[in-house]
Symmetry: C2
Subunit: 149 residues, 2 copies
Amino acid sequence: MDKIPESAPNPLLKLDNQLCFSVYALSRLITKTYQPLLEQLDVTYPQYLVLLVLWEHNTLSVKQLGEKLLLDSGTLTPLLKRMEQRQWLSRQRDPRDERSVVVTLTDAGRGLERNAQQIPEQVAERLQMAPPELAVLRTQLQQLVTLLT
Amino acid sequence: MDKIPESAPNPLLKLDNQLCFSVYALSRLITKTYQPLLEQLDVTYPQYLVLLVLWEHNTLSVKQLGEKLLLDSGTLTPLLKRMEQRQWLSRQRDPRDERSVVVTLTDAGRGLERNAQQIPEQVAERLQMAPPELAVLRTQLQQLVTLLT
DNA sequence: TATTAATTGATTGTACACAATTAAAACTTA
DNA sequence: TAAGTTTTAATTGTGTACAATCAATTAATA
């Protein structure tokens, strides 16, 4: 009995051919790479990204933070509340515009930066890619990010 | 009054210099790019990835599915249950090894593949990157995935 | 100025993602 | 073969993500 001929499989629908899957998988693997290093700081990876931004700027509104991290308030509000509970930052309404919530790093939050100094190198070490190659890759990815933003 | 001299800022701790952030942001942006296309199939992006695998293999254990997608049962079990409720697949214990749960595509699940044919092209269109460049980028990302796996 | 429109966060609800634990079954080996 | 180990999913609990909605406030304009 002959098999009913299937339509030719679409190679574009194969998992291995998907750029999207590589990005998705890599993103989760990178988070896992950071995790043991971030355990020392007792922060999660998204919280670490918030700290990176605040170490640069110290004070930002939720809106501005969201613009930099490409995250909305539905994600940031509970995350920031957890960080506030741990005394790494404060959240308060802007008196000049009561709609806006301003996030400010505490001394403790600023102090964490010292403990984070070695993290980028330790991660780069595990990625085992030459810095120039990494830079090229990062530029390409940033182009795509800009394109889709 | 002079400012207390801060330690020189570590450029490696700047958000813009982080490969990790580009990957993280791009992954979420890609998911958002897929979302309106996947709405027609009424699936989420991770569910779409499960379908991609099953369209290739039809029947796999949860374990095998997890190996291909790099996801564990804590993620897959509830996701597969939702897909089972929608009749796209069935879940049943392997009689030869009762520890194993075998996932099989239903006719309805297989039928979805036809509706998905145009999706890769439509996404590629939005990425506006020449196919050869995309292939190079994908290869680099896959290398990193392999490295971290 | 009164009304409308736009901005900004918070809230709610759904769906991942994963660590840690549990439980059942299968395998190993003394 | 009995005891201990390994394998495999499920469960539980925490923490993102994000769409949709709501509420408060500000800005714009008729």
